[in-house]
Symmetry: D2
Subunit: 357 residues, 4 copies
């Protein structure tokens, strides 16, 4: 008999259900008897002992369904050691739930913040296996996270749509793409959508370079310019600020996000009409793309195998086209960023894309 | 020999190319010799004599392509009688171009504003045939405009994506849908996407009714609420203001659009987390949906037939499943709105949708 | 207290769930107490008393889900009066189930065959309200059926894909489209996909006309030709055969379907390479398109209202953009076909489409 | 000045245009003067000197367009040394064209057969750089080929659609997936679409194992079974035949393809209704998916760089997430197959998928 708890934490994304189905199918097909405790709304469910007993049939038919059947919530790691509003110690409460239910293992699906807490639970002696979920693809230790390719598809589709309208009106169009503090999503969606300019957090931009690129396109007869801007993009000047000073700047910025600031600057410097589109949370939703369904199923299946083998303390990741187990302590707290010297960025430049640097 | 000028004016939308292809295929297949002057960027091309000579092959392969191969621009009707920056009288200039090229007819594709100018040109003695293009579906004299169904598809897809993320996080989500001052797009996308609350310009909302609907859903066990808000939605109080006072209010409103105002009010009154998504111009773009391709092709074809028959002064519209010709003077300056007493709204209420009234 | 039975019969299609959800939401939102008996697998469930009790929550979240939560089966009308393998009289059995459960009304969703049986049940004294479901759009008494537009979208998408490959290889490509004995689906998907030749059951084709159209395109520089062939398309010679002789011919035809016969003839007469694609049942599946979701929801809602008003014996249909109730005896046994003289066919010809006539 | 010839050969697929655009953009952005000879319809254009001079603008706007702007054809390698119908030696003719135009390099996009000929041209002294195009993903020397992921998306979508209809009717459904003699496409689309049984060329099937899997599902309460069958799937008995005997068997097989044979066997052994769907060439068509657009652009860009560096005789491939150059002699004539012992197959089995072995 194997007793596992399962939870999804942080921002939701596509293929969470596919991954959980992979874990559960692998366990139930193994012949072992399995008890599954599905904790609701992320770590909160673990803290407050809020769960549902699940069986194999709960995971039937969810391969293609977006979101998470367990619900999710954000439980910031930096507040994990602070008691909740009722004075409850969160870490203790999680351990208590785990022990009370006599779990053999916790399966935790999440991104960066989630992995910090997962690693903490491991250090506290709990058996943990994790799965790398995030549309940002910024998790250390894995070449790829599920949710990412689905979000690329959605963001690209938005750029595709903007292309026809930008071309018709002869405008400059900015599409703001998600990705938190890293540029993977913007870089891939931008290249897939044929964006002319791509601004990433990892490559601070010089607004004058951006303006030059627009003017150059215009001189060469192009009626329009499409700019893919990462929500975490940053200008060269801002990148020089201290973290505190930058936060202060953001607080006082008279724009809802960086795209609007870039738009205002371009408008001012060129006199051109600039429009901003922010697909936002749409990028997290909908049915996972086939790539993510296969990928999440495979990861889930390998997580199930780890549990059957009694191997704990790992994130199941993907490296060099192999599915691998990565020690949680290697993953937690590190960010996988786009290197300005990576071949994909160089190829982007060869293709004529302006990165504003 | 038939000489036609063609232009697309106003905001672009899907199936403009499909409609123009329909006109041109019908003319060229008729055996008549045809000369086609494609005016660039809407009325501006007609004013300044900026055009390209086009042949049948220019219209080959564009059935499925979004945007407009002629480009478009907005030429506000209320400024039509004012001279341009160089003192040129726009109406005279358009007539001059028309006469200089010895055109038999102008084919004009556009929405409300476009039709006012088209009717003016008709009054000035030009031969005009128009086609009803707009994602807003607000043109008088036709049950349907092309672009509309494609935009419904895109907006619905956004709501679908939001559904999975809203359900996962247990949030209130607002999706702001285009449509200018009418609610067709929001109503249809909202119903198609399963929105729980739909706010339309034609049915001013009471924010307390909206809040009640959210709380009632919560009591019945729903973790989330999806609200489709038309970009032109208006509250009951605001609807009582004079046009001038309302404009003044909008100018001073500390929100980029009505959705953010609704979000702030809900957040304040319920304490719930509310997220806003604005798909924006994406709704105008991309390949036209099959419905619009067929519809625009049919309208275009009938416009071609009118020209062959020498019948001018009409918009080709769609009424009671028949394609009809509608005198331009009946169309210009009127708005087709959603009636609060229409059967679709009543059905929406039977389905449990809250309209905030 | 209202007790309704509900069943879906015949080939499945998109938006069956959306329509049932519309009925149930309308009933449960009315304040009346409602008991819902969902009969499984079409009339079979009614015959053998095989049902599930359903509540409002069973219909939550199914607006966007294809197929039918009740399952379906084909129960041919011409065998309805014949006893089953165990000697059970089907009509009596259905009446017995209805009476035993003390139902107030049966809600039946189906196409042509289904409506014959539904009308029979009405004649036998049962209260019946029906909804027009079929991708074929061949139901009499309604301008539109749900499932149709979704199937058009899928078939069009197949033609779109074939377009790029046909153009690359310079081939003749046949796409066989569903639609049973009528041509609505092929006509609309063919026009939306830009098919060059469209063969419909209602317009028997002359293969030499088809060959001429291909050669003419070739002479005009087109590398490829796309032909949309309805699964029920028929040649001029075959159309002259008696029904019996035609059936005999089909039985002996050395081709899986008409498309392969057309392909062989073209290949023989032109020496060109012809490829056949048959998307098949894919056309019935997947999430309903937004048009169908709205449409089916509206029809379902009006069906719910009829039940609340105690009005039975009707199909809820759509005519001249109004949702109407149509007496079942007017619907049963009649086929709505594409008229060769309809404006849409004429417009198709103006656009240059060859119908083989 | 760099003079390149470019051609696309073999079955077309998605992202051919994206890849060519990548090559050309990289060359033209380099500052070098470039002359581009686009050979029409594959090697045939090279043999007969049939080409178009292309400029950068010919490659603008084709990133998202399926097919190939150069056209393609199949020129079987085994006939390459045989003279054509007019006695022309093909290899000599190709060399002659190359020399006459004083090309610096040939850029060849194709799959397995294409690479054999490309390698032959290299051996004959021509400068060649190739790009790995095929929906089959069976090219040696690269982890991935472009077109593959787009085809996975389309085939998965077909399985998704079949899922709803299979579930509604309680049937066994077979979806035949392309892939020539390898199973990559079927394996990935099958896993993504949640197929219950997957039959691959690399894992010969035992029909009784397939039947057992269907019956087992039925016992466990599943109403339906979905089987993804590769067009090259083969039974255990057939796999034992000599190549010649197997070919003989195929010639005499009374079924259009293996799927129909499997269907007939299942129907006979279980009495269940089995339906077959063959999406066919649709899988090659349509706009490339975002993954393929990025991937093909990157490969194209690196091919451009090789040419700028004067490095010839390579295929640009993808290994361990790095874009690499692979000597053509290593690629030609080898097939990359799915290993029955690969982790993805093992994971599939853990997930409960039956492979018929």
């Amino acid at each position: 008999m194997i007793k596992i708890g399962m939870l999804t934490s942080g921002g939701d994304c596509q293929a969470l259900n596919a991954a959980m189905r992979g874990v559960v199918k692998t366990l139930t097909n193994s012949g072992e008897k399995v008890e599954i405790y599905g904790f609701l709304d992320g770590y909160r469910g673990l803290i407050y002992g809020n769960y549902r007993m699940l069986t194999g049939s709960d995971f039937s038919g969810i391969l293609t369904v977006g979101g998470t059947i367990l619900g999710t919530s954000r439980t910031p790691f930096k507040l994990i050691h602070e008691p909740d509003e009722n004075g409850i110690n969160k870490v203790d409460a999680m351990k208590k739930t785990y022990k009370k239910l006599k779990l053999d293992c916790l399966v935790i699906l999440g991104g960066n913040g989630t992995h910090k807490t997962a690693n903490l639970l491991r250090e506290e002696g709990l058996n943990v296996v994790t799965l790398p979920k995030t549309i940002d693809n910024d998790l250390w230790g894995t070449d790829m996270t599920f949710g990412f390719q689905s979000a690329v598809d959605i963001a690209t589709n938005a750029i595709d749509c903007i292309h026809t309208t930008a071309a018709s009106h002869g405008r400059v169009f900015i599409v703001e793409v998600m990705g938190h503090k890293v540029g993977w999503l913007t870089l891939n969606a931008g290249m897939a959508g044929g964006a002319d300019i791509i601004l990433l957090p990892e490559i601070p931009y010089d607004i004058d370079k951006v303006v030059d690129a627009i003017e150059k396109r215009s001189k060469n007869g192009s009626r329009f310019t499409i700019i893919a801007v990462a929500e975490g993009a940053i200008s060269k000047e801002d990148a020089k600020l201290s973290k505190k000073a930058y936060k202060e700047k953001l607080r006082n910025r008279p724009y809802p996000s960086v795209s609007y600031e870039v738009a205002a600057q371009i408008q001012e410097k060129t006199g051109r009409e600039v429009r901003v589109t922010v697909p936002g949370h749409v990028q997290r939703g909908g049915s996972p793309c086939p790539y993510d369904r296969v990928f999440a199923s495979r990861l889930g299946s390998e997580a199930g195998k780890l549990i059957l083998d009694g191997e704990y303390g790992f994130m199941v990741g993907y490296r060099n086209r192999e599915i691998v187990k990565v020690p949680l302590e290697e993953v937690a707290g590190k960010l996988k960023m786009v290197s300005p010297d990576s071949s994909i960025v160089k190829e982007g430049k060869l293709l004529g894309i302006c990165f504003g640097d």
